[in-house]
Amino acid sequence: MTEQIRAVLQESRVEQAEIDRYAEEVSAIIGIEKVSKNHIDILSTCRDYWPVSSIWMLEGAVPALPQLVVWPQTTEEVSQILALAHERRIPVVPYGEGSGALGGVVPLKGGIMIDMKRMNRIRELDHENLLVTVECGLNGALYEEQLNRSGYTGGHFPQSLRCSTVGGWLACRAAGQFSTRYGKIEDMVVAAEAVLADGTVFRERSVPRTATGPRVDHLFIGSEGVLGVITAATLRIWPLPEKRHLASYTFEKLEDGLEAIRMFMRAGARPAVVRLYDAQETGNHFPELGDKRCVLILLIEGAAAIVNGEKDVIEECVSARNAEDTGPEHVKHWLETRFNISAASRLLQKGAVLDTIEVTTNWHNAYSTYSAMQEALKDVEGTMLASGHWSHVYPEGAALYITVVGFPGDDKIVYYKKIWQSAMTACLAEGAAISHHHGIGLHRGQWMAEEHGKGLDVLGRIKNALDPHGIMNPGKLGLGEVRKWQK
């Protein structure tokens, strides 16, 4: 039945007889109930939240189809699945909850989809050392819920919290909305457990730091499934905060807001949430503030004495840039609506193409990158909106998050490619990095050579050494040509 469905990017497929033989043998090892060739399971794991997949869905097409779905429940089973696939040269794509925005799970060469969601236990909660060891298929919201139940927080709140897994965060090098205080996922990982393409399992020790050579487990953070499968991780946790302070300010100019943030970061304040919206997004998200000024949303939390100190530092810095205090209510509104992404479904049905493009800037090019990307996007025919905000701030810079919406008429894919080409060209010209936290996936791979230079070659050599048959998530992270998806 799936043969009738147009799989736009399917590069190749494994001989069906080979898949049948693999399915039979792997079923004998891990259990037939953990293996499916059923067309509905194949159809359901063929995509993620890449907007192009949604556009094709409305046209009755899919990006590409796997041929087999497996649901391991233990690290040993992951090892068995991979060892057999390695022996037979069958491609394998790891799957979490499908919230990736760049086609990272599209099975370009068919093969096996390894759905990690049945590996969803918390293995150990270490109260003394403030660590948790968790399997990678656990849903993010359920992870946080279990920690809260014991008086802790994981500190990681991506917009996809409720529709992503811990493993997805690690594989895509994710960042959460509270990251300025708690760090990004790579700051939270103390040790990881992963399985290589040939089935080798390795685990690093959960010590605070080592000087015992490079941390090989950290190589897997952000590897998007091309090096192996992350199966578990030991992560830092924090006691639930004693105090939370909410504040918002508006600025006449974006540059004033950026400078205020730079100054309080330089002074050592680390509010959990820092979000500075341009005037257009201020008007869209907080209509009561109008669309002439730029709002800064702040959430400070932790021990009361520290929160009070940070509040004083921040107030001084924003006052120096003539900020207007607009109170805590806008932050409450943001907290209530921060996971809501309903607009995309509605706009897509009305013929829109929309996406979000997040890049990393230093302070010196924060504003110029914003201006350049916005102008480049507005120059593409069909663009209705190109707006932006900054979040995830550091002493040395911040993540710039651009939202673009267009109504291009019939050729949505051509428009989609144009906006990305324009945005990435502007980003690279300004010296910014092409991704802050969404990752590379399939789509953004085409700019990886410009981003990394020779570094991509190094990554390719590591990939070849760890996965000599190239079975792990082919065509992702800019490694390997993707013939049917070019600039």
């Binding site: 039945m1 509905i40 399971d41 649901w71 909850e97 759905d115 298929g137 359920l142 992404i341 309903s342």
Partner: protein, 357 residues
């Protein structure tokens, strides 16, 4: 047969689903095909003729407990995914597609008016022509008739003149399984008996019966010409009016499990707690999720008959949310059945109340 709302279905199909954490079937199975958007996509493909009906498709679309857990965080306020999936499934019968496992249950419905076979519980009882008609429901009759006995004793203690009829299944299971024609037949038979009873108030023990009478009977053109009241609200009324006077309960630590229908469809989360608060000596400890945020016991949409392994896994997951030493009290025969696993004591609200009165 109701039309599928394609715009709402596509809203779900195109969404990354911030509801995923609250979909019990997804969380215990890990299967994308039964995620809310997974089912919505399959349903949309059926509507667009990109997919044909077959057993795996029907099985996936039946993997919805109608617990409405997905509505807790759903940004689409007009979307009722369980209703869209139900409306989608109703089209399968024309293709001869069904869940083979429930064939005996469908036969039982046709032969005995109950999916469980011959009715074992009490049939017609009470005072003919009485104003209050107590509708026990086939699941309580089959699995836990003690709750029906408790309700009858309570009504007697309150001095309520009531009656019970030789009821048939409300029709809900038949529709869930895709046979709306059979559901309508059962509804018509029940309606005839209810009207003939002369009662003016219908009290339901089972939340699924309540929802079927109030929501589905009008759709099936079988509107009931009397007031339909859920059990918790009715017994709370008797307590408030002083017709029941609870004394000290011997049960100390209890935890109330909100049935999904009472909590999210009927919005009845305060009434059961008020009843418990009126019983002296009871210490109520809430489970991890409660009220309108409650989580399913695994018994919705007849899962205990259609997908018993999934139902048991969901119940096991839910049980972990309760204090280990608490007696679980609920107000639904499906929840009771699901949560009644080894080492746990589960009672229904009417039984607790009856024991204390």
């Amino acid at each position: 047969m109701a039309e599928v709302n394609m715009e709402e279905l596509l809203n779900c199909a195109l969404c990354p689903n911030i509801c995923r954490c609250e979909c019990p079937v997804l969380q215990v199975s890990g299967r994308e095909a039964v995620a809310p958007s997974g089912k919505a996509r399959l349903a949309a493909m059926l509507q667009h003729k990109q997919l044909n009906w077959d057993e795996p498709v029907f099985e996936a679309l039946s993997n919805c407990l109608s617990c409405r857990g997905c509505t807790i965080y759903c940004p689409f306020t007009e979307l009722s995914l369980c209703d869209e999936l139900l409306n989608t499934r109703l089209a399968a019968k024309a293709s001869g597609i069904r869940l083979p496992v429930i064939d005996p249950c469908i036969s039982n419905l046709k032969n005995y008016g109950s999916p469980y076979g011959q009715k074992g519980g009490p049939s017609a009882a009470g005072k003919k022509g009485a104003k209050v008609l107590y509708f026990a429901g086939c699941t309580s009759q089959a699995n836990h008739p003690s709750s029906i006995d408790a309700a009858r004793k309570l009504l007697n203690k309150a001095g309520v003149s009531f009656q019970m009829i030789d009821e048939d299944c409300c029709g809900y299971p038949a529709e869930v399984w895709g046979d709306q024609e059979l559901a309508r037949q059962l509804a018509a038979e029940n309606r005839r008996k209810i009207v003939d009873s002369g009662a003016s108030i219908l009290v339901t023990n089972c939340p699924e019966c309540w929802l079927t009478f109030t929501d589905r009977y009008p759709v099936w053109e079988q509107d009931l010409p009397l007031e339909v009241i859920d059990g918790p609200t009715y017994f709370l009324r008797l307590l408030r009016e002083g017709q029941l006077e609870p004394k000290k309960s011997e049960l100390e630590k209890i935890s109330y499990h909100d049935p999904c229908i009472w909590a999210r469809a009927a919005k009845k989360t305060d009434e059961p707690r008020e009843i418990l608060s009126l019983i002296p000596g009871i210490n109520v400890q809430e489970p991890l999720s409660y009220g309108e945020q409650t989580r399913c016991c695994g018994g919705g949409s007849m899962f205990q008959l259609s997908f018993p392994e999934t139902a048991a896994a969901i119940a096991e997951r839910r049980l972990k949310e309760f204090p280990e030493d608490a007696i679980i009290v609920t107000a639904c025969p499906f929840c009771r059945e699901g949560l009644l696993q080894e080492g746990r004591r589960v009672l229904e609200l009417v039984e607790i109340l009856e024991q204390s009165c």
